[in-house]
């Protein structure tokens, strides 16, 4: 077997979402790139996935694919509506999102979008509330309500997961179901270096929360496919309306993400100036350093 492009065990042994099941025809072969390796995958009629590495295709090329030299099958599983695979040997089970199983939720892939950025930059942007009024003006935030109020961040040692709680932000249109602006409560989980789950108060049921998860598939160190899972309470809107709303939000983030320099996330504490509102980001960077993640980051020591 040829040497893998990515040699970072902290990243190789993770599970990655590569495609939304609903968007695939059964028994049809698809291609994608994960950590610079070209993969070929499909689901059979019973919904069972299979994923293989294909060596003969130059990375990034999707035109004119010929039958390639195929390698051994990779681990593959289905979770939260996506095919997940790994180029290494995943040690842990995939993190759990219990809400996904609740029968009255709408579960869907809002979209899979390609972005010229690193996976950790995409996650860090997802955790940031400070940009809401400026980047998502009059939707997820509005001037003059720009203050990021005090919130709490901790690393749960048993689960090896970051949790940010007590985040409250004024949002003019928090979701497709919003009828007016409201203070919205947020909770963030980061259970995987390149996956994050956001919980936000549901406009239709104040005792429950909508779930929006970002599963980032690193194509290379500076290019990703971002899969956006929604598990929300919305009985009024069509899937396409809900999906387009999230695509619009993500489309606003795109130029910000693609213009960050450097594209890799610097882990050194003095590389970028942080403010109090960046508490989640600081914890996230330290957590990646502690896990020894090298891919898509600029290490503190380098």
């Amino acid at each position: 077997m040829k040497t893998k492009c990515c040699s970072d065990p902290a990243v190789l042994n993770l599970w990655y979402a590569i495609a939304a099941i609903d968007e695939l025809e059964s028994d049809h072969s698809y291609h994608t790139t994960l950590l610079e390796e070209n993969l070929k995958f499909k689901v059979d009629g019973n919904g069972n996935p299979s994923v293989r590495v294909v060596n003969s295709i130059p990375p990034g090329k999707t035109i004119g694919l010929k039958q390639g030299e195929e390698e051994a099958e990779l681990p593959a599983t289905v979770a939260y509506g996506y095919i997940w695979t790994s180029l290494g040997e995943p040690e842990n089970e995939l993190f759990s999102i219990p809400e996904y199983e609740e029968s009255d939720r709408r579960n869907m892939n809002a979209a899979t979008v390609g972005v010229h950025t690193s996976a950790p930059r995409a996650i860090e942007n997802f955790l940031d509330m400070g940009h809401f009024p400026f980047v998502h003006s009059n939707i997820l935030g509005a001037e003059p309500h720009t203050e990021v109020r005090e919130y709490e961040v901790e690393v749960l040692q048993n689960e090896n997961e970051i949790v940010a709680t007590k985040c409250v932000f004024y949002q003019p249109k928090a979701a497709t179901t919003s009828s007016e602006g409201a203070d919205v409560e947020y909770l963030y989980r980061v259970p995987h270096p390149f996956c994050s789950i956001l919980y936000k108060s549901s406009p239709v049921d104040e005792s429950r929360m909508d779930v929006i998860a970002l599963f980032v598939q690193p194509v290379s160190e500076e290019k990703v496919r971002a899969h956006m899972l929604l598990s929300i309470l919305d009985t009024d809107n069509d899937n396409s309306v809900i999906g387009q709303f999230q695509q619009m939000i993500f489309g606003q983030d795109k130029p910000i993400l693609e213009n960050q320099v450097p594209k890799k996330l610097p882990l050194g504490s003095r590389a970028e100036t942080s403010i109090r509102a960046d508490k989640s980001a600081i914890t996230y960077r330290r957590w990646l350093s502690a896990m020894g993640v090298k891919y898509g980051v600029l290490s503190a020591t380098s």
Binding site: A111, V115, V241, P255, E258
Partner: protein, 219 residues
């Protein structure tokens, strides 16, 4: 006026932008272009056999093709006649020429953006090099225009639909991995377009800040 619309489509944005600039009210019919591929669905193909967005329906009149729609809207609804000056043969000729150029931008810079963002297949290397070739030509053209105190694509004192047709693919080019750093006249023109009164954005484009040069001259 109904617009069959996909929020992230650069060609739909051209139409939304001109409608905002002229002040035309319209009704949104969302077509789930991605990931739903609704523009290839049976019901939409009946309206447009090419399976392309945008498409408008005005009082029973159906029109497809973003540039055709710009011509129609400006001619019918712009009382000032500045966006498509029908009495000026030279400018109309120039507009037609640059609408063709905007089609080429769509099939190069526009395709590269759809390839990188939404995984729609194309020969990405030739799209990017084709876009750079066109942007060099446009940059040089705009530089000479500026030297003659002309701030827009055509020889006209106001922006025309040619500016609207070229703007989205250019301004969204970085999503397709095409940098505008080498095209300073294009970047200045993009700022001018973003400062036209009633300018609206598409996700991926932000409104321009105040014009610092103008402020300096004023103080």
């Amino acid at each position: 006026m109904k617009l069959y619309n996909y929020e992230l489509s650069a060609n739909c944005y051209k139409v939304r932008l001109l409608m905002s600039l002229i002040g035309i009210e319209w009704e949104n019919i969302t077509v789930d272009y991605y990931p739903g591929r609704e523009h290839k669905s049976e019901w939409f193909l009946k309206l447009n056999p090419l399976g392309q967005l945008p498409l408008i329906e005005d009082d029973g009149f159906i029109l497809r093709d973003s540039h055709a729609i710009l011509v129609f809207l400006a001619t019918k609804f712009d009382d000032t006649g500045k966006w498509y000056p029908t009495q000026n043969a030279e400018v109309l000729g120039e507009i037609a020429q640059w609408l063709g150029f905007a089609d080429s931008l769509n099939s190069t810079a526009g395709s590269a953006r759809l390839h990188d963002g939404l995984f729609i297949e194309c020969d990405i290397d030739s799209c990017r090099s084709g876009a750079h070739r066109l942007m060099r030509i446009l940059d040089e053209h705009l530089w000479f225009q500026e030297k003659q105190n002309n701030m827009w694509i055509c020889s006209h004192s106001n922006p025309t639909i040619a500016d609207i047709a070229c703007f989205p693919s250019i301004m969204l080019s970085e999503e397709g991995g095409i940098s505008r750093i080498d095209y300073p006249a294009i970047r200045r023109w993009c700022d001018r377009v973003r400062r036209i009164p009633n300018f609206i954005v598409i996700p991926g484009i932000f409104a321009a800040g105040p014009d610092i040069n103008c402020e300096n001259t004023g103080s």
